[in-house]
Subunit: 364 residues, 2 copies
């Protein structure tokens, strides 16, 4: 069993290589497999210039069943390689994405989202025979339905001006200075993905120090973005030309310097738990004090053991809050209010905040 070649771009067949590495050792896989475009003939623009499409040998398969076998094999190898809580992303177009999606469901991957990359500047449809193909589809899935996968919800929300990040991402195609070109000025790879796309993928579904694998590395976009964001990376490709480009690109990419700049936004779920009873123990609340619900509809009395008691219910702040409202559940911290000396009502959550900030040194 080979060791993981961390922080390298390695040459070889991704199926063989992934099989040779330790199982359940990787946190995130991002894959941009051949699309099996089945192009026939050439396409010209209205001004008669020729459109340079994907003509490379790696995109040719004999038929659907050959493509399906290939898809099954690399997805199965990736499934084995992933940690139980790891996730996988695949990007594709209508040529291949339906076969890929069906296959990964069959293997046992559990789809979390399909995410649409909406291109601001797609290639037009020159013949006027179809809609402009202005998007690509990504599938994000966990290893199993019960995985406790990473999703940096708060980071994604922050990236989107404090609104939940949606499943449609509007972004330009990779061009200009970001597009890598050879000495002859020709593009180094026909399907180089924009770094912005990978930035969002890596930020959303991994943490600093996680291992990110790209089985079809191409120009090394996944590796470069992972390095910049402080993740470990492995890129795989079979083509020597691409390997050279990707390695040089990664070499030029700066390390993530500053842990503060790349860490995911703080999540409330990860803050230390404060039992309600400790507010009583520490004297922020006294036994016998009265809590009020919003609009003063209900009241409850604090007991010395950290339970509260209303006219008809007794139990934790959450249980009683749910019971008096007849709701299935309740966050007692935000539901119950306390009258301050000034006469204002504040949720008891401010007491919890006080305890937390006292107990912990100020962190950035």
């Amino acid at each position: 069993m080979a060791k993981l070649p961390l922080d390298r771009i390695v040459e070889g067949d991704c199926i063989d290589l992934m099989r040779s590495w330790p199982e359940e050792s990787v946190d995130l896989v991002f894959a941009d497999p051949p699309y099996n475009l089945q192009l026939s003939g050439e396409l010209h623009r209205p001004n008669n210039t020729r459109v340079s499409g994907v003509e490379e040998a790696w995109d040719r398969f004999d038929d659907f069943s050959a493509y399906d076998r290939f898809t099954f094999d690399w997805l199965t190898a990736a499934h084995r390689l992933l940690k139980p809580d790891g996730t996988l992303w695949v990007i594709g177009s209508y040529h291949n994405i339906f076969r890929v999606g069906k296959t990964l469901q069959d293997i046992g991957f559990w789809i979390l989202n399909d995410v649409i990359w909406v291109k601001t500047n797609p290639m037009p449809n020159f013949r006027g025979k179809r809609f402009t193909n202005a998007h690509e589809t990504m599938i994000w899935c966990s290893k199993s339905p019960t995985s406790k996968y990473t999703f940096n919800y708060d980071s994604m929300k922050a990236l989107n001006d404090d609104l939940q990040m949606r499943s449609d991402w509007t972004m330009p195609i990779c061009s200009g200075g970001e597009r890598i070109k050879g000495a002859d000025g020709a593009k180094a790879h026909p399907t180089q993905k924009p770094e912005g796309l990978l930035h969002r993928v890596v930020m959303a579904s991994s943490n600093p120090g996680d291992v990110v694998v790209d089985p079809f590395a191409g120009t090394g976009t996944t590796a470069a973005v992972s390095k910049r964001l402080g993740r470990r990376f492995i890129g795989i490709d079979r083509e020597k030309d691409y390997l050279a480009v990707a390695r040089e690109r990664v070499r030029q990419t700066p390390e993530a310097g500053d842990a503060e700049a790349i860490s995911p936004a703080p999540s409330k779920r990860k803050e230390p738990r404060v039992p309600f009873g400790s507010l009583v123990e520490r004297g922020l609340l006294s036994p016998g004090e009265i809590l009020e619900s919003p609009c003063r509809r209900f009241t409850a009395k604090v007991r010395a053991d950290g339970t509260i008691i209303s006219s008809a219910h007794r139990g934790s702040i959450h249980q009683v809050g749910a019971a008096v409202q007849g709701a299935p559940s309740c966050n007692g911290w935000t539901y119950w209010m306390l009258k301050t000396d000034g006469g204002k009502k504040v949720p008891i959550d401010v007491l919890r905040q006080k305890l937390r900030s006292e107990a912990m040194p100020a962190t950035a």
Copy 2:
């Protein structure tokens, strides 16, 4: 062999019925099959109200293979029914669309486009565990690779301000007066589609007088739109409740009088919002870079998630800008400055302008 029941909503199993009709007799099929959502348990909003999902028996299948058999059967019957130059549309979500797409390719359908319905007002993700599921996917395909299918390119272009119609369609979900409700005020069907979607489908891929079949008619949206646009229609459903609703709806739908009179007003998308985070994603700013306030009184560091952090505050550019000044609010775009290579300071708003001008031409 039964005759086609033109301009009617018929009761029965769509597979049996389509098999009983003459082959190669239909121009267009639009299908909104069960999505096989596999919901388990209940979901509540943060305010404890219950989300009413799709609980109907018609959406339940034992497993993937039962769903695949069902899919294969109705798609095969539709393939037989279509004229050689006819086309088919299917709509679905990530739960089913990959299996549907793979199956229709296997049957011999030729995919022309996948079209994304981007919802302006999707249901949020209440638990914060995934991206907001803000779109559905449609597949448009011809009966074979060599079909001379109908595509009203110029109508679509006209609908889109004289720009080619793209594969992403932004449209609200069906609500308000369009949403059909029963006597009790409950929605008549859990998944009624907006007429705007069908308008575009029917306009794009059929001509007046063509026969349009919807095997899963539901509330009859396809039939109503087809009638209004001067197409012949057939709707099929098994549920008596839906049949009654659809028949009444079609009855109330006016015939197309003057075909030229039907010209819907295209709605321009408003200027896209640029989240500060996208400057980081697109590489116009790097995590760790320092922003300065006017007069250099305060500084803040850019983080990879699009928040910024000063000595005492963390949050959006607006929040931190307000906090350091002790102001109630602040426009971070004009407040925070960046040092350019030349040593001059410019507000970060110039980066937003740059992104807008680069990235946002020509979207629908």
